[in-house]
């Protein structure tokens, strides 16, 4: 019997009897990401980068330019930073990309709740993290050259990354929900990523401060940045051999950041998932006013009087 020959019979029965919506969306996104090759390409680039970086560090080790523990720390930090970047750009493409490819409307026209759609996409976007971790561990082992620091690096690197990956993925998705184009969402999500990453990577060895006030200020700024706080935690555990019990406060920053981003994503972001992002339209009058002011100022500066 063809579908056309059975009108009305199961119009109402197509209710929730199959898998949950988030699972259906998640499996589809996952197959599109991995079988479609996009995530595979990114993971391949990540593996090459990690290989090159470990080679460079190994060369440095031979020259005795960097202690072994610091080398492991650098590898852990690099693996986390690059895998977070992968999660971020996949998340940034997840909604705005569908808008650009005109595939979002079909999804929004189904009875699936916006929150479940976002949940499915979020889980798929965060999926490169465990794969990236699995790829990074052998590199960490190779760089640690049998040193016991490897065990701590594998454990705490996995913990720090697992806290940061959902946070950065959520951030990318929040931006993606609010952008109409992939280009806009990529730029808008890279800015906060770099703002978090640069202080975390440029933080050098412990400095001497002129006063306690300056030291406190530095510590608070570092704690407020979840990536810098994780980086500080890893440095103390891996390089300075501190016990994690006295460092738990540094893990509260990524936990709180992840919690905040996920609440924003699922409580405020998901319900505002629309066919067209409203942000651009909302800010248009301000941009137009700013452009007028800019033109007026330019004209005033150029005029001879």
């Amino acid at each position: 019997m063809s579908a056309m020959d059975r009108p009305n019979q199961d119009r109402v029965s197509t209710s929730a009897s199959g898998s949950p919506t988030w699972w259906v969306v998640f499996t589809r996104e996952l197959s599109e990401l991995w079988l479609g090759g996009r995530a595979l390409q990114l993971i391949l680039i990540y593996s090459i980068l990690l290989g090159l970086y470990s080679f460079l560090l190994a060369t440095n080790s031979e020259l005795k330019l960097m202690p072994l523990k610091e080398m492991v720390l650098e590898m852990v930090k690099a693996a986390i930073a690059v895998s977070l970047f992968i999660c971020l750009i996949i998340a940034a493409d997840s909604v705005s990309g569908e808008r650009e490819r005109s595939t979002l409307e079909g999804l929004l026209l189904t009875p699936a709740s916006r929150r479940q759609i976002v949940a499915g996409k979020f889980l798929a976007a965060v999926s490169p993290w465990p794969v990236a971790l699995a790829i990074a561990v052998p590199y960490w082992y190779a760089v640690s050259q049998g040193d016991p620091v490897f065990g701590r690096a594998a454990l705490w690197g996995a913990v720090a990354g697992s806290l940061l990956a959902p946070a950065l993925t959520g951030l990318g998705m929040l931006v993606s929900i609010r952008c109409n184009t992939i280009k806009a969402s990529m730029i808008a999500s890279l800015v906060p990523y770099l703002l978090l990453l640069i202080p975390a990577t440029t933080a050098g060895p412990s400095k001497m401060y002129e006063s306690y006030a300056l030291w406190y200020r530095n510590q608070i700024l570092q704690w407020l940045n979840p990536m810098a706080a994780s980086s500080h935690f890893l440095k103390r555990v891996l390089v300075d051999d501190w016990h994690p019990d006295v460092l738990w406060i540094w893990l509260t920053a990524p936990v709180m950041f992840a919690g905040l981003v996920l609440v924003l994503l699922f409580h405020y972001g998901s319900p505002s998932l629309r066919l067209e992002a409203e942000t651009a339209e909302r800010f248009r009058p301000y941009w137009e006013r700013l452009a007028t002011l800019w033109r007026t100022a330019g004209f005033a500066l150029r005029s001879p009087s």
């Binding site: 019997m1 063809s2 579908a3 056309m4 020959d5 059975r6 009108p7 009305n8 019979q9 199961d10 119009r11 109402v12 197509t14 209710s15 929730a16 009897s17 199959g18 898998s19 919506t21 259906v24 969306v25 589809r28 599109e32 079988l35 479609g36 569908e98 490819r101 005109s102 595939t103 409307e105 079909g106 999804l107 929004l108 026209l109 189904t110 009875p111 699936a112 709740s113 629309r274 066919l275």
Partner: protein
Amino acid sequence: MDTLRRESLGSPEGALMVEPTNGRSVSGSQASQLPILVAQDLCRSYGPRQALRGLSFTLNAGRILGFLGPNGAGKTTSIRILTTILEPSSGHFSVDGIDQRYPEKIRRRIGVLPENLGFPKQMTGLEYLSFFGRLYGRTAVDARSHALALLDDVGLTERGRSLIGTYSHGMRQRVGIARALVNDPAVVFLDEPTLGLDPRGQQELLGLVRRIASERKAGVILCSHLLWEIEKICDDVVILSSGQVIVAGSVREVIGRGRKGGIRISVPSASLAETRRVLERMAEVMNVAPVPEQTGCLRMDLANPSSEDHQVNNRILEALIRAGIPILGLSAEGNRLEEVFLQLTDKAVK
């Protein structure tokens, strides 16, 4: 919840009047008279711009309603409101008796082929339809068997396992229609379904649309700029201009609203002057003039257009035949939806 019954077509404002039936059950013979979609005074603004102003109409089960209007008339906005993608600024609508306050329930009862629907090129037609079937709550096995049946319905059984990226435009439109039917909807919205298709593809797709209404007893809203298409398969028509309904009713009624009294005659170019002389001598016709864009075509007005004298066309033909003029064609103006559409939308713009 109150259900609504259509009372009459075409009020003076162009809105279709509705009457509450307070949930009374209606027998099977009356099923096609049941309003399955009721829109009342829908408005939508984008900032200071009013895209839609007081859209009201009803759609009955098993009927096809043509949704017409020039570009920017508010058709897409109307479709997006009725499919719960946009919220109306004011007004009310219900689908299959479900109030607009329950958009997720409404989405279970509707199927939509949007104008610019994108397709994931890495999925096969079968996977695509199965995915949407599962989003409507079907199990994986059920979704797959239903998807196969739908592919059969739209004539894509052979290509169901090929990647959508390899499909032609017409095949993608067919998959889009199959996707719109994946939940056995009560109302189907088709926005420009034949856009970009060759004539054969258009004919086949229109046949499919007719089957959706007749066999599935679904109400169909068809948006198109091809007026012959609307005239050919629609039962009712709503014409929008600048966000307002300018006319609504059955296709026959709407065509009946067109200005009558014009006649066009086509003759060989060499006989044009002689034809004009013969016609100008007749008392029944006036304003005989060549049609600038059509060689060998003359247009004239009837002296008494409101007259019920249907023999006037025969008398014109008789005069021309007696004069030995070969007649290539004769048509009365105001009998085509396209002419009525142009007349009404021109008037609305002015």
